[in-house]
């Protein structure tokens, strides 16, 4: 289950502000933005908001992609008829990126960085000087460090933040406006799931269905009991 909520969450603001800054950077500065963080922190939600805000081109990488598949995917997003050779395709992507001024968002970039496709990314950047946003998992910075040429073109690193209490409150309010969640409940949940938004959404739904069954319109930690959170761990065996 994803967390398809565009409530003003920390990560949403971080990414879209970073892209806005990069778009208006002075000439001569590099234009790669990297957002990285563990799964479930709301990177994709941030990506969706930023993509709509800047009319960005969005590609989601797959492990199986070759250089050609990668270029085809980008050109498809731009709805451009792909040329027959890869070098011309790089030109096409670069031309469209630099002329249109729209950023390119590449999600799940960790699949590409360990492979030869990463050089295509560098080529595209060099030829276009456009804004390229890489979104990926925790190990992306260390993989990027091995790619000297791409690494020094990063203008901003945006580590995805773990959810704060404010985030939880905003999410709870927008998802279930009719139920009031007490702060101690939300704080306990935040600690138990370690700020992972996806798990927060699962648990809020659990609380909500329970509260509905009990006909409550507000719930706190005492009323809920802190041992029934879903943390993703399998239940321990009982004697």
């Amino acid at each position: 289950m994803s967390v398809p909520k565009i409530v003003p969450l920390t990560n949403v603001g971080l990414l879209s502000a970073a892209i806005a800054r990069t778009n208006s950077r002075p000439q001569g500065l590099p234009g790669v933005v990297v957002m990285y963080g563990a799964s479930g922190l709301g990177k994709s939600v941030g990506a969706a908001f930023a993509a709509n805000q800047h009319r960005a081109y969005y590609v989601e990488c797959r492990d199986t992609w070759s250089k050609k598949a990668f270029l085809h995917a980008i050109l498809r997003e731009m709805s451009i008829q792909p040329a027959s050779t890869m070098s011309v395709m790089v030109d096409q992507v670069a031309e469209q990126l630099s002329k249109s001024g729209r950023p390119l968002l590449i999600d799940d970039v960790q699949y590409l960085l360990e492979k030869a496709v990463a050089n295509v990314l560098t080529d595209i950047y060099n030829a276009s000087e456009g804004t390229i946003v890489l979104i990926g998992e925790e190990r992306v910075p260390s993989s990027l460090a091995k790619l000297e040429r791409l690494h020094n073109r990063v203008l901003e690193w945006v580590p995805a933040q773990r959810a704060t209490l404010d985030d939880l409150r905003a999410l709870a309010e927008s998802s279930y406006p009719e139920l009031h969640f007490a702060d101690d409940l939300l704080e306990d949940l935040r600690k138990k799931v370690d700020g992972c938004l996806r798990r927060v959404a699962v648990n809020l739904y659990k609380v909500y269905s329970e509260a509905r069954a009990r006909c409550l319109d507000s719930i706190d930690l005492a009323g809920w009991g802190s041992d029934s959170w879903f943390t993703g761990e399998a239940p321990s065996r009982r004697a």
């Binding site: 398809p4 909520k5 565009i6 709509n52 498809r76 997003e77 709805s79 096409q92 509905r212």
Partner: protein, 203 residues
């Protein structure tokens, strides 16, 4: 040997202005002068439409007039090449975001995979574009009819959740739900993918 020029050509169905814009870029790259007449012939569009588009783009500062050749023909210079996508300007020279709401919904649907109409409207309403929850609901149920999304929920207390069928992501241009004919047109494929009339015939 000179390198082959990578002319950018859009795939799928194109609007008349898209044809005109592609012709403008092609003529601009070639040796011929950029005139209303050459563009109209190259794009196979009406002279009047080409003239109107040039006039609108001149107001928007995308092209500027070099000279008048005769009463209906002028020579132009392209000031700002914006890539493959035709600039969308109205007759005041203002940028338009017509149907920006559904475009954003389609983009967000592909990134997030699943949402309710309320969430879709919230995601799509950024940067001067706005769409209501009702508008999103109408659009998404149109997509559901054509089989682009599946629907789940829709009972009391649980709003309908729409989920994109991944194999039906045909491309970046949003499918258009034409309510007055009750049909869905997909510009990526350039075809009408669903028609209510067809369903009635088979029944």
């Amino acid at each position: 040997m000179p390198r082959i020029r990578a002319d950018l050509v859009m795939v799928g169905g194109k609007s008349p202005r898209q044809y005109i814009w592609e012709a403008i870029r092609a003529v601009n790259a070639g040796p011929k002068a950029l005139t209303t007449y050459t563009v109209a012939r190259k794009s196979n569009q009406d002279d009047q439409a080409v003239r109107a588009y040039f006039r609108d783009m001149e107001k928007a500062g995308i092209v500027s007039k070099v000279r008048n050749i005769d009463r209906r023909d002028s020579e132009w210079t392209l000031l700002k090449d914006e890539g493959v996508e035709a600039p969308r300007v109205n007759h005041h020279g203002k940028r338009t975001t017509h149907a920006g709401g559904v475009e954003n919904i389609w983009r967000a649907l592909r990134i997030l995979g699943e949402f309710t109409a309320a969430e879709a409207a919230a995601t799509a309403s950024v940067n001067g574009v706005s769409i209501s929850e009702f508008g999103a609901q109408v659009y998404l149920s149109g997509l559901a009819k054509a089989g682009y999304v599946t629907r789940r929920g829709g009972t009391a207390g649980f709003k309908t959740r729409f989920r994109l069928v991944p194999s039906r992501y045909t491309g970046p241009k949003h499918p258009i739900y034409q309510r007055d004919f009750d049909q869905v047109y997909d510009p990526n494929l350039d075809q009408v993918v669903w028609r209510k009339a067809d369903q009635e015939v088979t029944q």
